[in-house]
């Protein structure tokens, strides 16, 4: 049982970091092994923001093996040299935690596949997100702990999705935590609640097409599946509709891009989702209490039906 939440402000920006923290904290009883945020912040759109990790959080019930900080330093040095090799210029660098970094990068090529493959060829390094607006922040602990650790409270943006995880299919670590970046697409992220039963069949097929998987978490398949559909020319909505047939199991998931937010629910409607929709705000979550954390007044909400796909623009 995991909890997912998402919101999109239409026509304005807001403190989405703070709002999503409230929503996810309200869902912490659904799982607090790890919590993740995909925040779409206000930027000038010139540079890429790369969130990446050079190691795992080994505290707080983690299933990862402890490593010395000097190993992280070494990996960071290799990342820096690879960036330089590929003509990417680091404009701003933040090392929030020994294992977690945020770079603002000047990089002119549009195809991020080669870029990502090069960076992730360094053992222990994973790009959590790459985009001109998207920032994926995920770590062990509940929503408030992660928010405080990464100072997300003040982040202003248009939309966000997040996930409170109870680890069932894979380990308690950052690499299995949601959201997943829609590698190698800029600014695409996914969160999921449910189980996929044809994970390995799909994974093998997608790996044969050159797509990469960083974890053994079934939810990652959704991000990769939709990314592959988009690579083949489908729109986000088309890719999501296709996933209702291609993915087997029970699921409700959200996908976000630079300017849109979408939801899909499997044909059995086995996983919960409550939705609030108005002209200037769409908010949704696994339970109504998530929405109530940002809209305490009486509002009209509903459950999307089975096999429903919806996409909203900012």
């Amino acid at each position: 049982m995991c909890g997912i939440a998402g919101l999109i402000h239409r026509g304005k920006s807001s403190k989405v970091g703070h709002e999503l923290q409230g929503m996810l904290q309200a869902l912490k009883h659904r799982g607090e092994d790890s919590t993740g945020y995909a925040l779409y912040g206000e930027t000038d759109g010139k540079n890429f923001i790369m969130r990446f990790k050079v190691g795992e959080n080994v505290g707080e019930g983690s299933t990862s093996v402890a490593e010395d900080v000097s190993v992280y330093d070494e990996r960071k040095k290799i990342v820096d040299s690879y960036l330089s090799e590929m003509g990417a210029k680091i404009v701003k660098e933040e090392r929030i935690l020994p294992y977690s970094l945020r770079y603002e990068i000047e990089y002119n090529k549009k195809d991020l596949l080669e870029f990502s493959q090069k960076i992730e060829s360094i053992p222990g390094v994973e790009i959590l997100s790459m985009g001109k607006s998207l920032e994926v922040i995920k770590d062990l602990g509940n929503a408030k702990m992660v928010c405080d650790r990464y100072n997300l409270d003040k982040l202003v943006g248009t939309h966000a999705i997040g996930h409170a995880r109870m680890a069932t299919e894979s380990g308690v670590d950052i690499k299995s935590a949601h959201p997943f970046w829609g590698y190698p697409f800029s600014d695409v992220s996914v969160v999921h609640n449910g189980q996929l039963t044809n994970y390995w069949n799909n994974r093998r097929a997608l790996e044969n097409k050159g797509m990469r998987f960083m974890s053994e978490c079934d939810s990652e398949l959704i991000a990769v599946y939709i990314a592959q559909k988009m690579r083949e020319g489908a729109s986000l909505e088309e890719g999501m509709k296709d996933s209702l047939i291609g993915l087997d199991g029970v699921f409700t998931y959200f996908v976000a891009t630079k300017d849109s937010l979408g939801m899909a629910k499997d044909t059995m409607a086995a996983k919960p989702l409550v939705l609030y929709e108005s002209d200037d705000l769409v908010a949704m979550g696994s339970e109504e209490i998530a929405i109530r954390s940002i809209l305490p007044q009486e509002i009209d909400t509903y459950d999307p039906f089975d096999g429903e796909v919806k996409v909203w623009q900012i």
Binding site: P272, E288, D300, Y302, G307
Partner: protein, 284 residues
Amino acid sequence: MANIKNVTKKTKAQAMGMHTEVLTGRTQQKFFNPDEAENFYYFGTYDVDFNKRTDLDVKDMTAADANKEIDNLMSQGYGTIVIKNPQGKHSLGVGILNKLNLIFEGSLGYFGMGSCDGPTVRINGRVGWSCAENLMAGKVVIEKNAGSCFGAAIRGGDLICKGSVGARTGIDMKGGTIIIGGDAGAFTGFMMQRGRIIILGDVGINLGDSMYDGTIFVGGEIGSYGSDAVDAELTKSDQDWLKRKLKVAEIGEKFDVSKMKKIVAGKKLWNYDNLEPTEKKGAI
């Protein structure tokens, strides 16, 4: 197993997997007074006055505290309680085995009004998953939409949603009536065993899947029929019952019931017996 002919009664019982010790605990308490003329009330219920009314603001209360306070107010004779600011909290109003007029000024989360027997409830908002699960008797009216598993396993009473409901409405229901003013999701009436479901709008896929018995009436389009769910003739008495029920439910009073579809179990799927154990004993 040992030779049970040659052992004492106690050992024989133990050998057969039974026990002879005196059981204690709540399940062994006397819940009914055999001396009552009409044995309709549960042990520990209250005599309340519907004209005695009070408000209860649950904004800063946990669900457990709110439910305890409802019980406390009933013990003071309050027969009409208005709950303010429920704000989508889970498990509000569960386990009320009392006559009571309960009004929620807002929405409920999951498991609202579960395992109730007797109250009349109006929810001026929406409800989450599994609303009124195991309802035995009474009436629950929801003014807006409801989540999935609406009225799961109810055994009696009327459950009315004026908006739309999610998937698996009336799953495993064993009696009572569920009335939906809007649309219903997939697997409506899944494995239902008795009772009736009325849907004025459209319904999703696998309607009445694996139903044992009971009846589903649909006013709109049907996504698909579930396994062993079949059409049946809508009789005059069905139409009269539908008109009466919709009128009492204050919903779709002007709805043309003559065009509704009636769905029942084909009874090809199960080795089922439509008699309760006690009825069966009587029949034998």
